[in-house]
Structures are given as C-alpha cells and as structure tokens.
C-alpha cells in the first residue's frame, strides 16, 4: 500500500529525511507557509546527532547535555514540539531505498512506501574514520560514538579515555567527558598547530565557535590533560587492563595508556540517498571526497530533491539550521510560492560566513591522508569484511585496480554491513597512494539498496499478498 497518495495535485507532497537542525528548520519553514510535510527520522526522538535527546528515563537538564549549546538545543526541541501536530512525523523509520518519487520505508511496524513531489535530504553526517592498527578491538570507539554514549545513555566509554584524531569534535567531546567526571588521558590531534594558526582568519568568521574551541583546549590543559598537535596514531594494543596507543610526533615514537580510545577524523556527509536517487556529485578537494552538487539554496541536480545541512558538506549545526530553512525556501520558490526576501538574504549571508568557516576547519583539521598511506600492512581497513591495508596493497597491482568499485569487487573492502560508509574514505586514500593517482580519479563506491541493512521478516506481509 502506498501512503501519501491521498493529497491532490495542488497540495504538494513534501518529505524531509532527518529530524536534526536542518530537517526541523526545513519543516518549520514549510509549515509556516501552510504546507504539510512528512518528516522521517531514524531516531526515536527529534534533535539529530548534535541535539540528540536521551530516552525519558535518562533525561537530564539541557545544560548538562548540551553545554554551551543548551539554548540552541532547547529552541530546536521546542520548535519541534510546536510543529508536531502539524506534520506527519515518522520516528524510528529507516529510508532503505528510493526510486523516482518514491521512498521505501522500514520500521518496526513493517515496510511501506510514500510518494513525494519534493524531497529535502537532511540526513546529516557520521564519523569519518582514519584507521590505525588495533582500532577494531573492544574499548575503541568512534568519537561520535563516544559522544552518543554520553549524551544518550549517560555512560562513559572509560575513566581515562584517549581522544585521538582531528576536528573540533575532538576537543568538544574530550571536554564533555572531563565535565562528566572522566579524566581524559590525552587529546592527540593529527593536525598541526601551524595549520590551526593558518586557519584562524577563516575560523574568526564564526568568532563564538572559535572561542569555544579555544576554551575547550584551555580547560583541558588547565586540568593537566596533555593536548598535542601533529600526533599521528600508529597502533593500539591491549596491555593488562589498558589500551596503549602508540603515536609518532616529530619523528619520535611515544606511548600513552588509557582505558578506552575514541577515534575520529572529522565528519563525512551521509550521501547514500542522494546517490541512489541519482543526484550529480562533484569532487570537493578540501575534504578529499565527492559531495552532492547543489546551489546555494540547496537545490540538487534533480528537480525534486534538495540538500540541507551536513548532507551537502560539513558546516556544523548552526549552518544546518540556516541550510534547512533555505532548502525549504527553495522548495517554496520552485512551487511558485512567495518567499520572505529579507529572511532569504539573511540566511544566504549566514551560509556565506559558514562556508568560509568551513574552509577554515578543513585547513585546520584535514583528513590525515598521508598517515593512512603510511599504515602498516596488518591494519584492518574494512572491519565488516576484515580486509587489511596489506590485502589492498597486494590486490591493487596484482589485479591492475584503478577504481574503487573494482577494488571492492576483488577485495570485498566496503562490501559488508556498512557498505563502505566507514572504510570508504580510507580505501580511496590507499588506492590513490598505491596507484600514484590523484584521489578524485579513483572514483567512489556506488550506493546500493538497502541503504542500511533491512530484516527479511519485515517483507513477509507484502510478499504474501
């Protein structure tokens, strides 16, 4: 059965995927214009990753959950509460596929599909991983995972966790752990101090965000927690009850012990749905990745589909709120409705600033491509299929591999449960460095359905009919 076919042609069917800052602001803007939207989200409660809400039994004050961002989180949550009755909200629902103007949904109730005339993708981002030897063992988490554990479940990954990788989240999460009663063993940034200095003028375009970053670093240092730049993780070993992270810095090898490790090298957009729908992608050199092509309002290459928030490139939560509203205005414009021009100009100005800030972040916290090229052969790259970098290095010349999908076909790298969402970035780096090719020339893994695993029994009612 197809839901959403009941509406007539003059009430367009609008679907928004993702109930984070971008999705909620998009929904709000459209509801204000008198339209009805369907808002689909994988989580049980709205807020997205950044303003994620714990389950009711673990509820805590906003200040404790979101720190400096408590005001923004509360504003977004209350905006959603006001919208709730005016929208068709579908929490705990996975969009597992899409074709033309249909979305395929899976939830505990079973599978269904909806049709849309306009679609806003506000699917957000996930951790971008730079693997190191030993990263798949118990006690090693992704940075975002460490934050989810704290925010959603009020748990810590450890009492003395090591935070390693790069990006603003590295400092934020280490600080959040400190405040929650954990004592981080160290914060190790693969980026250089010089790089962060070079990025300062661009980062100053969002002075508040820049100041927060400086504050986190200062607060950690004030508690005696080492914060080191240019520290490249080499391997993680379990020793006694500890995890020992070996890293190199200024050409020398060092060790640090902790009871857990959180790893993350920035974020990567969740673009699979844009890919399945057939949106055009362009290579984006600063982030060394392919991103869906869109204009400054969020229009993709498809007339039906709009991109909002981190889905189109990592700009952070504030820009996501602006981007969500802008994408909604683009929908309204394309439907021939009037849009508030002043608001549109303000949002565009906000996005321009965010764009400069983003380029600063990319300069300060670059994905550690050279470090990946230098990893030991026994480092697991694809954890779903247990494929090591050595496996890739052997297969690439043996099979004459120059393209990502052939690499996957031959080695199984990116073929498992996550479909390359975790290992894809690193695998591109390995293929490019082994073939001495520019990274954009190795292509990217093709998206395929289902976007995330779907359970067979969900299909039974449909198959029987």
């Amino acid at each position: 059965m197809t839901d959403g076919d009941m509406t007539s042609a003059d009430t367009p069917r609008i679907a928004i995927i993702g109930a984070g800052p971008a999705g909620i602001r998009a929904a709000e803007t459209l509801v204000e214009a008198g339209l009805r939207v369907t808002l689909i989200d994988e989580a049980a409660l709205p807020g997205g990753q950044i303003y994620r809400q714990p389950p009711p039994t673990l509820r805590r004050p906003a200040k404790a959950l979101y720190g400096f961002e408590a005001g923004k989180a509360e504003a977004l949550h209350s905006s959603f509460a006001r919208l709730r009755s005016a929208i068709d909200y579908r929490p705990e629902t996975l969009v597992w596929g899409a074709r033309d103007n249909r979305l395929l949904l899976s939830s505990r109730a079973g599978n269904t599909e909806i049709a849309f005339d306009k679609l806003i993708l506000a699917t957000g981002a996930m951790d971008r991983i730079a693997p190191v030897a030993g990263w798949t063992q118990p006690g090693v988490y992704s940075l975002g995972g460490a934050q989810v554990v704290l925010k959603h479940q009020a748990c810590l990954i450890g009492k003395r966790p090591i935070f390693a990788g790069t990006g603003p989240l590295l400092y934020l999460i280490a600080w959040q752990y400190l405040r929650a009663g954990s004592r981080p063993a160290a914060v190790l940034d693969t980026g250089s101090f010089a790089g962060q200095l070079r990025a300062l003028p661009r980062l100053a375009r969002q002075p508040r965000t820049l100041l927060k970053g400086l504050y986190f670093t200062a607060a950690l240092r004030a508690k005696g927690i080492p914060v080191l730049y240019s520290a490249l993780p080499a391997r993680i070993d379990a020793r006694d009850d500890n995890l020992v992270l070996t890293y190199t810095r200024n050409g020398r090898s060092h060790e640090i012990a902790g009871d857990a490790v959180a790893l993350g090298s920035g974020l990567k957009p969740e673009t699979q749905l844009a890919e399945i729908l057939g949106c055009a992608f362009d290579f984006h050199s600063p982030s060394r990745s392919y991103l869906p092509r869109c204009d400054r309002m969020g229009r993709s290459s498809l007339a039906t589909t709009y991109i909002a928030g981190d889905t189109g490139g990592i700009r952070g939560a504030d820009a996501a709120e602006a981007g969500g509203a802008l994408a909604a205005l683009a929908v309204l414009e394309d439907l021939g409705r009037s849009v508030p021009e002043v608001r549109k100009r303000q949002l565009l100005t906000h996005m321009r600033r965010a764009e400069i800030f983003r380029s600063g972040l990319e300069l300060a916290f670059a994905y550690p491509a050279p470090a990946i090229a230098g990893l030991a052969d026994d480092t697991v790259l694809c954890r779903c299929e247990n494929v090591t970098i050595g496996d890739l290095r052997a297969a690439i010349p043996q099979w004459n591999i120059t393209e990502m999908n052939r690499l996957k076909a031959i080695t199984r790298c990116g073929m498992g449960r996550c479909q390359g969402r975790v290992c894809g970035s690193a695998a591109m780096e390995v293929l490019a460095s082994e073939t001495h090719a520019p990274i954009e020339s190795v292509g990217r893994l093709r998206g395929q359905i289902p976007l995330k695993p779907v359970v067979g029994s969900n299909f039974e009612t449909k198959a029987a009919s």
């Binding site: 299929e385 498992g416 289902p450 067979g456």
Partner: protein, 383 residues
C-alpha cells in the same frame, strides 16, 4: 589518422565468455585483441549469482556444461586463481508432485550424460538438508556442482590472457564494425582502429545488435536479474539451492554471507544499466524466508542487478555465423552462462583455429533461428 593495428582475432565484450576466449585463442597461437566498453566482468559476468551447476539444465547445453565443469575443477591451474569454486553440490527443490516429476524426468537426461543425481523426499530430505522448510515436497541433489565468485572469474581470465600476450582494451567500446579486406575493421569510441580476420561477438545483452548487422538476428533481449546478499551468519547451507519454478536461487559462502537471486529489476531506457526493484526485493526476500525459515530474520545488506541477454528459447547463441565467414557468436546466455562460459571460450578457440570442436554445440547454433525450429526441452530461469 591513427595507425590500424592488425590482429588475428578481435573479441567484442569482456565478459567471462570473451575473456575465456581471449585466453584460449592466445594459447592456440592467435594474436588477440579484446574490446570492452566498461571493464572486464563489469556486467552480467561479474554480478551474477555465481552458480556452477549442470543440474536442471536444458539437455542441449549439457555437453558444454560438462566440459566446463572440468575447467572449473582446474581453474587454479588454468588462470592462477580458483575463483573460490566450491563443489558443494546443487539441490533443486520441488514444492509439489508436478514439480517433482520434472526432477524425475531430468534424472533421465542427467543419466544419459553420466550425471547421477539423488532424489529425496519426506524424512530423508529433512535429515539430509535440515535447514529446508517442511513445506518442500521433494528435491534432487547433484553432487559435484557448486558455486564460485563471479567478481573474480572474468578479471582472472583477462589477467591471464594479458600475461600470455592478448591485448585487453577496457573503457573503450566498439563503435563501428565494417568489412575490410575479407576481415573486419573495428573503430572504437576513442577513434582507435583495429583490424582482424576473425570477429567474436561476445557482447552479452548487447550481442544481438552486432549479430543483426550480419543478418544473424536472434530473439535475445536484455533483462536484469536481481541479486541479494545477507549479513554473515554461521555457515549452515551446505548446498547451492535452486527451485524447479525458478523463483529463487541461493548459496552461502563459508565466510557466512547468504547470496541469493530471484526476479528481475528494472532496465534503463537505453538498456545499458539497471537497478533493483523494491517489489522484487520484497517478494524474493520473503520467498527466501519461506524456503529456508532460518533466513527470516536475517538482515539483507545489499541488492543489485546486472544486464543479461535473454534468448526466447532459453538457450545461448554459440557458433559460427551462417552468413558471414569469420564471424562467431557467443551471447544470449539467458541467465545461466556463468558455469558454461569457460568452456565456451575453449570451444570458440577450437572452432576458429581448427574449424571444429569435439563438444556438441549444434543445438546452440545461430542457424536455429534461420531454420525457425528449436529443440526446447525444459524452460528454466535459474542461473
């Protein structure tokens, strides 16, 4: 103007058939060029189910299929890679008495070709294959058949052929094929030109266009069989499974993933690409859970399709052109060419270099459409 390079044989299409032909012809002393528009094994050859079975085949294909099984058994020696061939046996299940009689009839065909199958039903079937649904009426088991990894096979043949001297051109398709000096002149998309005295049409779903150019029309149309793979679970499905009705074919690899196929996805309007159908997704995943109840709660991690040439009579088009000397066809494998393809390459090489092959492929000749009579024995859709 670019130089024209002369070869003995030009093969159009880098699927498993074309790549096997390239290797066998090179070994037979021919200078060979293979032209592939995308990359070798990128289409049906690389994304098919991976079934390696004689079981249940149209009897007219059995000579080719038997010869190919010998090649599969010696794959590592031939191409330097076993392509993960695993001869765990093939089980074809019947849901009712009528389907069971089809299996009984096939046992007779098999016996004529020296293939012994075991027919099971009732308690004996449950005991031997405890993972099968109790709804299954009966089954036929063919030891020696099995499965392999299609992603490796065509590239492995291509690599070996290249190492032995064949020229393999990827990412550059044949644009224009013309007659020249008794042979063929092929202009590629890039403008590069090749000449050969022999042309092999191994263009799969797109082979009909090349054949039709020489008046060898064959009723081969593009279809897009749809496949699935689950998350890995402990190995328990110790045979490749097929159904008499053709609705589902399924195998498990030792690392645990269950790979299965059934139904057809959607072709792009130009028939160059295809994508999975969500309706087929629901039906086939549901059916897999009905036939093997333990699969009901398994997570499906990926579905895909490939473009395949399907011939109206279910048989491939293999043999020399009745109209054009030097032209050989091997396409339209109708969803069950993966097992036979290695032998097709060997047979083409014999036809081209010696004018004859010991393998009886007479029923597969393109001539059958000119004669408008075809010897259908049993329709099938399983790969």
């Amino acid at each position: 103007m670019t130089d024209i390079v002369q070869y003995d044989v030009c093969i159009i299409g880098g699927g498993l058939v074309g790549c096997s032909a390239a290797l066998h012809l090179t070994r037979a002393g021919q200078s060979v060029v293979l032209v592939e528009r995308d990359s070798v094994g990128a289409h049906a050859s690389g994304v098919n189910f991976g079934g390696v079975r004689r079981h249940g085949r149209n009897a007219l294909e059995l000579p080719l299929s038997l010869r190919s099984l010998d090649i599969w058994r010696n794959m590592a020696a031939l191409v330097g890679n076993d392509c993960e061939f695993m001869p765990c046996g093939h089980l074809k299940v019947a849901r009712n008495e009528a389907e069971m009689s089809v299996l009984e009839q096939w046992r007779g065909f098999g016996a004529q070709h020296g293939i012994d199958v075991e027919l099971h039903n009732g308690a004996k079937l449950r005991q031997r294959f405890p993972w099968l649904s109790a709804q299954i009426y009966g089954a036929s088991f063919c030891p020696g058949d099995g499965h392999a990894n299609p992603r490796l096979a065509a590239p492995a043949f291509a690599l070996r052929a290249r190492a032995e001297g064949a020229v393999i051109i990827e990412g550059d398709g044949a644009d224009v094929i013309e007659d020249a000096q008794g042979g063929f002149e092929v202009t590629l998309m890039s403008g590069k030109r090749l000449r050969a005295s022999v042309l092999v049409n191994a263009a799969g779903a797109w082979g009909r266009t090349i054949a039709a150019r020489y008046g060898d029309d064959a009723p081969v149309n593009a279809v897009a069989p749809q496949m699935f793979v689950s998350e890995p679970v402990p190995y328990f499905i110790d045979a490749v499974l097929g159904m008499v009705c053709g609705g589902l074919y399924l195998r498990q690899i030792p690392r645990g993933n269950v790979i299965f196929g059934g139904g057809r996805g959607t072709l792009s309007p130009d028939q160059r690409s295809s994508w999975p159908s969500d309706r087929v997704f629901a039906e086939t995943v549901g059916l897999a859970g009905e036939i093997i109840p333990q699969l009901r709660n398994l997570a499906i991690i990926r579905s895909w399709t490939g473009v395949e040439g399907n011939c109206d009579d279910g048989l491939p088009v293999v043999g020399s052109s009745p109209r054009r000397q030097g032209l050989y066809h091997a396409f339209g494998f109708s969803g069950h060419g993966f097992q036979m393809a290695p032998a097709v390459g060997a047979v083409l090489s014999e036809l081209i270099t010696r004018g004859a092959t010991p393998t009886d492929i007479s029923a597969l000749s393109p001539q059958r459409f000119a004669d408008a009579k075809s010897g259908l024995v049993m329709a099938e859709s399983e790969i």
